[in-house]
Amino acid sequence: MALEDYLSDAKRCCRCSYCKWIPLAQVKSWRFAKGCPSIAYKNFHSYSAGGRLAVVLSLSEGRSSYTDGLLDVVYQCQMDGSCDVACKICRYHMEPLEAMRELRFKLVEEGQLLPQHIPVIDNLRKEDNMVMKPKAERGKWSEDLDIKDLTTESAEVVFHGGCQLGFDEELGKVARTAVTLLKNAGVDIGIIRGKEENCCGGKAYDMGYRGEFIKYAENNIEAWTRAGVKTVVTSCSDGYFTFKRLYPDIGSKFEVLHTVEFIDRLIKEGRIKFNKTIPMTVTYHDPCHLGRLGEQYIPWQGEEKKIRGQIVVYEPSKPRNNGAGGIYEPPREVLRSIPGLELVEMERIREYAWCCGAGGGVREAYPDFSYWTARERIEEAKSTGAEALVSACPWCERNFIDAVNGNGDKMKVYDVIELVQQAI
């Protein structure tokens, strides 16, 4: 698809602003009714999905041109897809998130690069990671781990650590725990050890760098194929989305599981058992890329046609990615199964969860906005009375930890895996 393919979406946007809110049916309070961090932070209509569709149309009609202001409009957004879910409540043929992605691709292709992203992408090209670290530092988390190295061995399952877990010393334990748990449960699992593991390319994709994404996708697919892998497991929701929803377009056929899905399965099969009580009230944050964006990939190629005069349909029928098929229950099931743990819900959950603030290149380019977005979520978590905010994505967790530390909050931040480990 190209940006031009979304011009009819742009014209069909009714400017209703559903994209700014969580689905209206789910609004439970004034305080936590907003869905889109971008418009909530910047306020100008252009910082919403509807506004960006208007910008697409304006650009295409030559009414406006590339400026720093326009780049800001395009990039000050986590690409979290909240708008997409809310829009599709009533609209069966709109793809606002896809259109926004295409807009980024077009900007990058035409050399309209956001200056803040350039060093990040340069580092990716050089060091194969999105966290501005030297390649050599990747994989410290697994240095002394007794696990198959799939650069030389083969296994049914590959665990992908990813850039955030791979370099973040505080969060590296999540990856260690996850792999260990799976291994101990008898799973034939390995990792692409050390600096040989690549970035998934998903973040670059969200930032508009489609070429980089394809490069990393091809590399990873090749490495896994070489190792005889059938299933890819990750604790990183960004990676999960990338492998599950984006890689199939590059030819990937692997089964993709998030560790919470795998752990949930193992608990239900009795292969993981808890023997400790964790007397704690927690609330769960749905990572965007695991939740509303974590739906099954369904290939589609077709075209639009009209019936009854002007009703838009597709030949063949087009899958609706509207958040319905996201991964919502497995992490909750895992948490509920931990003895003593009480799970309380925030107002914005599942397909209409508020973003952590880290995605779409925002953490890298707009740290204040990213921090503000995380703070909003922490406030929401606090309003539940929970002691801890639990998630299933290191990018979310890093953003939350930084926001908690920055504000001197007492809220604890955990990955689901950490609580599982504590209860064993």
């Binding site: 209703c16 400026t67 009209k306």
Partner: protein, 537 residues
Amino acid sequence: MAISREAYQALEDIVGPENISEEPAILDSYAFQWLAEFRQHGSKFMPRAGAVVLPGSTEEVQAVVKICIRYKLKCKAHSTGWGLYGAPITENAIQLDMRRMDRILKIDEHNMFAVIEPYVIGATLQAEAMKVGLNTHMIGAGASCSPLAAATSFQGAGPDSIFMGSGPENLLAAEWVMPTGEILRTGSLGSGLGWFSGDGLGPSLRGIFKGILGACGGLGVFTKVAVKLYPWPGPTVMPIEGTVPAYTAQLPENIRAHTLAWSTWEGYADAVYKIYNNDIGYIAHRQFIMFGDELQAAVLKILTDTTRTLNDLEELLKKPEIQKLSEEMRRSFQIVLVGMTPRDIEYQEKVLNQILAETGGWKIAAMEEPTMAGWSLLYMIKLCFKNLNYVYAGGFHDAMARAGTPDLVTSGWMEEMREQKRKFGKQGGIVNDGGDAGMGGVGTAGGGGYNAFENFILYDPGDAASVEAARACNVDAGHIAVEAGAGGYNFFFMEKEQVQALLAGRARPAIFQWQQKIKEAFDPNGVGDGSYLCLDE
């Protein structure tokens, strides 16, 4: 053409650089509007503003208006900004986007009113009201819209008007930054006595800015208002079930949704009169007809089944049970009964049953099925799926509007408007929905007895031929509406000369000369953008 640097700087000094923009792409996101294509010869863009300003307080709004006067700029505010009437109809105006003023300042639980700013939306006010056993009137445009704008600036009725009145009926005191930059606080507020009354001292000055239609942003800016609230004997948070987008709500026994049907318009009208005369019903509206009389049953099936898409429409339309349901729903409306007590709901249900027996009506069985009833209930109470009227291709317009007494439906007009639109539908330029998508009509005023219908013209704004067909249908319908004493806001689609001709052709054109006098008195500097209609002498 940009506004002068001095003017821009002066505006920036008021709101700060982060709350003003003249970035072309940003201005175009404001110029982009629903229905702009009818006015702007197919373009989705209204005249581009000179700058967009986000004020954060009444004082900032006042200061902005005064700067506009000083630099001879037009100024227009919108709340949620949905529809071409939110945008200035002249180039280079200052567009005020009120979204920073979004607070619910007060909910007076006892006296049942809320004090709100412009960017509070129906959904958020309702959520907060329900926490204390109250509810808010939700305008027909749905939960994403501003109750303040509905009460002060546009039309303001909705499916619940039978019980909760319309926006302007619910308006208590208001804070109005007039086009002179002065602030009028109406009613009790002006005397510093709170928000409970919008009338007085002596005459009720809100009459100046809100008639059957408001000033549509053309006569100053409303910065705070009090609106009446209504009882909600349901849960403090609506329990939502189901999978996106087919959410449903299962509510206690005292809250029920039915779809009622008749085989004749006479039966329908009699029942509406009886509902009017018996004070039953919390929400009553001919809602789902908006999908079109031939398509409604199939579309409802799709909307309540997450596995389905519009691709299933044709297959569903062939099913006899679907055809039967659509036919059954031809003369129907939805009603929500809410009992304040168990005896109340029991009584209302009995009365409703008797009304149905006396008028030859029935409750449609398929709509009583739990999934459908739960979806209907949620739809009607929250108006959270309102924008499904865009579901086909993204375009709808309601030019074929008409209002009147409950027996209007027996006048033959329902069939006329159906045939009139059906003609366009068959030509393919607009959705061929059967012809009757006449949403509305059970009680458009508090207490009922007054109905308004809007026959939706459904089209594809992404398709120039469809826009043109819709425009032609709209023009055709517009003439009929004006002749019938309606005419709504069609003037937004016209050039000034056409507007003048339209106004002059009304049975009583003098009302627009009165508006001219009001405009001269209240907006002597011409800050308004022309949305307040004036007939030149």
